[in-house]
Symmetry: C2
């Protein structure tokens, strides 16, 4: 099982010398870039490398037009090269990463990527194979309700990629079988499943539900929740034991978007105080949505991921062999 060799090599390198690897998987327009951007800005670009594995397209847009699958299909991507590059990055080695230009739909000159202390890998299929999964310390799957994701994709592709709403809807329909077959199954491999969604009957900003699987050690959240509860009735945070759709037990952390910013701040500050290596971090970068908006549930999600990144960096621990 070659992926075990990667686990062992990474463990042998020790915590101080190998990068901490975070995967953020999810379908098109699920919010990967928004989540990633705040983490990069908070930790600083000099400590953080962000890689999008959608650059590993095997075909450009013109070539894909004649193929029986969409860009979501593993056969449409250099999966074995993606695996190889993830292994190299996870061992601290640089790679010459391919580059797909979304504005022209063409594959262009590759770029040198040298892993810094932290590497975020986001994209459609970063958790598709056991070898790829073996390269990560922390794995996240973004799982918004499909109707919300569709509206996000229509907004983005119409405003920034020059498509009409009708074209985007047709593409979503065309992609649906491959989303179901290849993208969504990655949810089961995530340490944290993040779902931004409105809460029925509660208007206002989106809330977040975070499924925290016992595959990694999460921070002790009970004291945070207790602290928040001392200050108000309607707390920003709830933690509930939950049985996942596959029957496995998980903690479900509810981060409410409808509470006031004062209440959210108590939770944010408490999580901030638990970060292993705060000096040099930029708290203002967290929770930014688009050019102007902010979201406390997003900020709290990012703080939880920062906690895991900094813990992994400090302890140098590799996740349990799985």
């Amino acid at each position: 099982m070659p992926h075990r060799i990667v686990h062992m090599l990474r463990a042998a390198r020790g915590g101080g010398r190998r990068p901490v690897m975070l995967a953020i998987a999810g379908d098109s327009a699920a919010g990967k870039t928004t989540l990633t951007r705040g983490l990069v800005r908070c930790l600083g670009a000099d400590r953080m490398t962000a890689v999008c594995v959608d650059d590993y397209h095997r075909y450009d847009r013109a070539e894909r037009a004649g193929k029986p699958f969409t860009a979501l299909h593993p056969d449409c991507n250099h999966i074995e090269i993606m695996e190889q590059h993830l292994q190299l990055l996870s061992l601290g080695e640089p790679v010459l990463k391919p580059v797909y230009d979304h504005s022209t739909g063409r594959l262009v000159r590759p770029e040198l990527v040298r892993p810094r202390d932290f590497v975020i890998v986001e994209g459609l299929l970063p958790l598709h194979t056991a070898m790829a999964r073996a390269c990560f310390d922390i794995t996240v799957y973004l799982d918004p309700p499909e109707d919300l994701r569709h509206s996000w994709k229509i907004d983005r592709d119409c405003s920034r990629r020059g498509y009409t709403e009708q074209q985007v809807r047709a593409e979503l329909t065309r992609r649906e079988p491959e989303s179901a077959a290849f993208v969504r199954p990655q949810r089961r491999w995530a340490d944290i499943v993040v779902r931004f969604a409105p809460v029925p009957g509660r208007p206002g900003p989106l809330s977040a539900e975070l499924l925290l699987r016992p595959t990694i050690d999460h921070p002790e959240l009970a004291p945070v929740i207790a602290e928040a509860a001392r200050h108000q009735r309607d707390t920003a945070l709830h933690l509930r034991l939950h049985r996942d759709t596959d029957g496995r037990p998980v903690d479900a952390l509810h981060v409410h978007g409808y509470v006031g910013s004062d209440e959210s701040s108590i939770v944010k500050n408490a999580l901030w105080d638990r970060l292993a290596d705060r000096p040099g971090l930029s708290a203002e970068a967290l929770g930014k949505v688009g050019d102007a908006g902010t979201s406390d549930p997003l900020a709290i999600t990012q703080l939880l991921l920062l906690y895991h990144l900094l813990e992994a960096r400090q302890t140098g621990e590799v996740r349990a062999l799985a």
Copy 2:
């Protein structure tokens, strides 16, 4: 010493599963492509992968114009990525190789290269580092007299790359310090140094001098030479013990271009009979120069390299740790 790890990994893979790796190093227009092309055609493209490491340029032509070095300088190339890709190919893994378009001087879409049974790696700097050298079973350096190489480069660059003779001569002058510093020192790492040159006072086709270093086991040539000598006075082949410019002992094999094709054929047939795995080979592909010319010394050089490729494939032996 990481290059020892590559030696060990390659040895552990065994002969049947890892590709046989041949390096052909040499300066611009030294004859690398001519030598390579005949080997690829003889073995067949389905068994042979050819890679040019000059594709690992860090800068395109426009960017190089502002740099204090030429394309020959290691700093002008992704040497660490070249090393990484050579390691991967030598272990049988595919790579996504960068591509430099000589006609436009631009870096373009990379291409997937999957190593077949034999991998020929040619270019300016394939033997520049210990790590790169560790990846090869057989190493060749092409060492024509500089005046001959200059005339080859002028012919090629004027007829096929759109330069004037004056431009090519200026570029040769500009490159000379880096040729001396980085390209020519690779000669000492070659198992075989090939020098195509005219013999003074002997008109006609070029002869070849092949320095055969005892770093690999060469075929027994004495019987071949004896067989040729039985048939004529002016044999196509001479083998002489020789002290190299650095004082190290080598065998110098002289392959004369001025003897008739009948005599050369005796040598070619004798070498052909010694090949480990002849079925499927195409002998007609050997010795081709340009579109129409042929050279028996070139054919004999290619046969010697074929001998080493097929022996390495059959025995699975990795060269001595050096």
